[in-house]
Symmetry: C2
């Protein structure tokens, strides 16, 4: 059996942020599987079969990939950002664990990519330069009280906080609740970065403070980074820099 399965991180959007390892896997693949907008980011070529799918069918997609690879195909599952951060890698292993035994013989590799929080942080400066946490604000797969508990503990720990999936059309209220919890627990001047569609032509960066932040500043394509109590802003003629010093007291 010469098949394999690579779950590949395409990064936040720009071609220049895709690793050579991922490019090589895409060049060798017979099949590419993924959420349609991610599959669309990969150029078509003879010998490559494209399997775009809808959002929220991660387990079906994983089963499809494992089935094809176990039949000898060379399969890339395309993931945005890094596949291991709120993306396809965990879904693949959920499918593997509950699937047929012969799937465990499949050659599986996870190919890391530039995840959204690190791309956004780099554009703004270095807000994640000290201890930090990453929280998926979607309550599709976990209950809201658990998210709230984590937020409160993260503030107590004085982590900088990177929020994935802050807001969607189907769940507009979660991010408003998040801002409410932060207003209860952090100072009004706490710095917040809203980074939309980083590294694409639609990129927009907005740095503000907690008292001025509104739920509408985030959408599905926005990464939100809330600084720790020590995060600072440097003003420059060409625009501000947001960063967290390395040291703390």
């Amino acid at each position: 059996m010469s098949g394999w399965l690579a779950v590949a991180g395409l990064g936040p959007g720009a071609q220049a942020l895709i690793t050579p390892e991922v490019t090589a896997a895409l060049d060798e693949a017979t099949d590419i599987i993924g959420y349609a907008p991610y599959v669309a980011r990969v150029a078509d070529r003879p010998g490559l079969t494209r399997h775009p799918s809808d959002n929220r069918v991660e387990l079906d997609r994983a089963a499809h990939a494992l089935t094809l690879a176990s039949q000898g195909h060379r399969v890339v599952v395309a993931s945005s950002g890094d596949p291991g951060v709120f993306a396809m890698a965990s879904a693949l292993f959920e499918a593997l664990e509950s699937g047929p035994d012969h799937w465990r013989a499949v050659d599986i590799r996870i190919l890391p990519g530039i995840t959204a929080m690190l791309a956004a942080a780099a554009r703004a400066g270095a807000p994640l330069g000290h201890d930090f946490c990453a929280i998926n604000l979607s309550d599709n797969l976990k209950p809201w009280p658990l998210i709230e508990r984590r937020l409160r503990l993260a503030v107590q720990a004085d982590f900088a906080m990177a929020f994935y999936n802050p807001r969607s059309l189907s769940r507009p209220e979660g991010f408003a609740r998040t801002l409410g919890i932060l207003r209860e627990t952090c100072e009004a001047g706490r710095l917040i970065l809203f980074a939309r569609a980083v590294s694409t032509p639609q990129e927009e960066l907005h740095i503000t403070t907690l008292d001025r932040a509104t739920p509408e500043m985030a959408d599905m394509r926005t990464m939100v980074i809330v600084g720790s109590s020590r995060t600072r802003m440097i003003n420059r003629p060409s625009g501000p820099i947001l960063y967290t010093p390395r040291w703390a007291e």
Copy 2:
């Protein structure tokens, strides 16, 4: 003035994990500055001046880079992993904030890279596939009681935890204390990954449980990832997979 300064993430070690954006910056640079082992990872060529320096001189290195760039040089500060995660980006902005005003006119870019925790996670499976935190265990720049407080809160939040700089020759006791706190607060079977020199010829991966973990399993080149209470292991003929499911209760 045509100078610029790019703080570039060289990733964990393998050439195939360096983004094309970073490669392009290295190709255009007149000067490369950084900790000697990172500068050594960049091929020499005519027109490139190399400025290797010792560890723990981050602010001097940053000032040197800002001075050269403000004089018109095209400067790359080489960082391992991602420059924004426990690396050179924050040090650069500390120097910028306290330095002469004309430094604020320098064209500065942070070029993201594959940070150690994501490279290690990808090799082992997907242990960071749910909410997680990243903590620098070095107490060079923050007091141990703050690290301890963060560890206890991170366990309460049930984050998976990625530990950078777990252990050095000059501070051998910090990681032993960390394991002690985890033993007080987590179940004995909590899964832990020790990932050493990921993506290099010296790469070693070791998955164990908290009751079997010892301080000697980590050194300066080791990334430690402690799973959340939900992190699981899948056994396969070719080796185990460590992953955290996307969902929680």
